[in-house]
Symmetry: C2
Subunit: 377 residues, 2 copies
DNA sequence: TGTTAGCACTCTTCGGTGTCGAGTGCTAAC
DNA sequence: GTTAGCACTCGACACCGAAGAGTGCTAACA
């Protein structure tokens, strides 16, 4: 049936109901809607339309004599078709917040994951929701800029690698005591010369043999060093999960039941689940929105997650997800994630995209509508 | 008046009331106490004693016809004088838990603060309360074991320091481009020779001049390098706060009110406050217990904090605090903190104290009593 | 003198009842 | 197709009374 294609009035009413519900968290009645500006219908008409919308599955009623509440399907339509573009990007953080982005994101050296973490913190503050940052799995695509092996004491050394995105990694090397410090330095210099500019997985036996030849250290003697380098990279690849503003969940009345809140906070601590949750959504380069039961994790059925994946220079930095009740301020969350994308990309001065990033709206999920004045107070 | 010195029977009743209250969280009535084994008095007698204890400030009544609830003063006496030694140390973690200590605490190299963090996690799991780990301020007392300056690219280098407790620290050095990589290596070697074995604050102008002389780099040219070293140490000194098991707060019925829970969880996120809270208690080398209003932080008046400070080889590693409701299982918390102290000290093989640590009970706060069989089911 | 039994009293908890109001669905009129 | 009117439903809230836990006090007892 083509009945699923709503007419304009139904869409307007649905949007009004959802906007209202997002704001008040009260089931909204026909009278409330009919009183809105630019809503020129009587409560009775609205009632009929709302009954239709309920039949179609976009709204539901907590009990017979209550107003209507959006269903997951309703929210889906809302984020896909009903939110206007301006609502999404008409949004600017305060000066203070901008400063934070600068000091946080623009620091030019150090762990790249710091950037995502700071961004996550910012997003949590901007949206007043919990944000989850997942970094990592970028190691494979990054190149070695410099490396050094630092002798610590007999049998112990420290491998230090600087990657091309200025991340500094180190790992301890335990070697049998046959290599003296001077030799180790020579190994270090040669490895640096040979490996710089390459990705870690490009290191091959030829290179190792060449180092072996130049330094007089046997292949097996070199292995602990090579292992140390790999361990560095492994550290960088290790996905890190960072949650920001978890307590904010408690501000939302949907979690005023401690048991419920506890359940979700416990899920937040399950790093494996969070990685799945965020990563699963990060295939696309845009925003992905998961509403209520669309989340596969049990216990998140009353939550929505909006995820954005960030990459700079083609390097995947990580993803940030915003977690809140399904009754979430979607426009604001989308705006915040896109805003930070712009900053993050701009801060790293990727030529050609820095300024344009804000216009890169998520593909597919969002569509611009220019009809009726669906303004929201 | 010497009335504050309670007779044996009052103490027994007080302890019974507190034990009972800790277990059930119900105001405890005279009948309940009189039914306990080894409590050979009628409810009426108990009632009289309880009335006295209330008058003395050790108990209080939520309302006229309710049972009694311990006051902060009551808990104070409880932890100071009433808990038996066996209750405190008769406690062993499971095999799984022991493994965790081993893999976590015994890792022989890396950031020392990891140890405290793992210990904190363990304590939270053992006690089912929230634990707060504060590390740091140890940098000043640690010595440099090895250091290295790694050239990264023109104008940029990386300072790496290994301290005598095997902590590895690094910081980025930005220098004007007058020092070439070879010279930098020479500087590195000379600094390593001169500074190894010293504490960072022992580095003086004489040493720097000596490096300057040997390498031909001017004093001012060397300063960025020295600054980088200091920055490393600053990183180590930077107190880090790590909270474990914050969600567990929500398990306790005293925080079933979301507002209350939120308030405390927000406090937990305030690193500055947590550092104050934990550090303030860490002057002594034993356990410090702060009950309810004894905590200076407003909003923690219904909580107790038990803090232990850990040091190995005279080096202060940090402190761990356990945060829970005043109705906390003090014996268990004390046991857990002492148990971990033993492990932490043992793991680092401090001769002479490893085995004895468990007997080092906190000075002053705890006293052994051998009277009446105050057994607890 | 210390202990205990008995009893009246207090105060919370909880289930039941009644009212109020918001909101609906339906019908009939416009 | 829209709207006014009206009966109906159902949750929220306040009120009431019974039940029960626990107390303080008094008087009797060892």
């Amino acid at each position: 049936m083509a009945r699923d294609e709503l007419d304009e009035r139904k869409k307007r009413i649905l949007k009004a109901v959802i906007d209202e519900y997002i704001e008040t968290r009260e089931p909204v009645g026909s009278r409330t809607i009919s009183k809105l500006p630019d809503m020129d219908y009587s409560p009775a008409t609205i009632r009929n339309e709302m009954a239709d919308l309920e039949e179609l599955g976009y709204l539901s009623q907590p009990h017979t004599s209550a107003g209507r509440v959006p269903s997951d399907k309703g929210y889906r339509l809302y984020v896909d078709k009903l939110i206007k573009l301006e609502e999404k990007i008409g949004f600017e953080p305060t000066v203070k917040e901008l400063d934070d982005v600068k000091t946080g994101i623009q620091r030019d050296i150090g762990e790249m994951s710091d950037q995502i973490r700071v961004a996550s913190e910012l997003i949590s503050r901007l949206t007043e929701y919990t944000s989850i940052a997942v970094t990592g799995t970028a190691g494979g695509t990054r190149r070695i800029k410099a490396l050094q092996v630092v002798p610590i004491e007999p049998g112990k050394a420290l491998a230090v690698i600087v990657l091309d995105d200025d991340a500094v990694l180190n790992a301890v090397i335990q070697h049998d005591n046959t290599i003296g410090p001077e030799t180790l330095m020579k190994v270090s210099t040669h490895c640096n010369l040979l490996f710089a500019g390459h990705r870690i997985e490009e290191i091959n036996m030829n290179m190792i043999d060449s180092v072996s030849e130049a330094t007089g250290v046997s292949r097996t003697g070199l292995m602990p060093v090579i292992d140390g380098l790999f361990e560095c990279i492994k550290k960088a690849e290790n996905t890190e999960v960072h949650t920001e503003g978890a307590v904010k969940l408690l501000s939302h009345p949907e979690f005023s039941d401690v048991g419920k809140a506890k359940g979700i906070l416990e899920l937040l601590n399950r790093e494996d689940l969070m990685v799945d949750l965020i990563k699963e959504c990060s295939s696309s380069d845009g925003l992905v929105i998961r509403i209520g039961s669309e989340n596969k994790i049990e216990g998140l059925n009353e939550c929505s997650v909006v995820t954005a994946t960030y990459s700079v220079n083609g390097v995947n930095l990580g993803s940030i997800g915003v977690l809140g009740p399904t009754r979430m301020d979607y426009p604001r969350v989308i705006a915040a994630l896109e805003y930070v994308r712009k900053r993050l990309t701009g801060a790293n001065e990727l030529p050609g995209t820095a300024g344009a990033a804000v216009n890169e709206l998520p593909p597919g999920n969002i569509e611009v509508r220019n009809d009726g004045v669906l303004s929201k107070e």
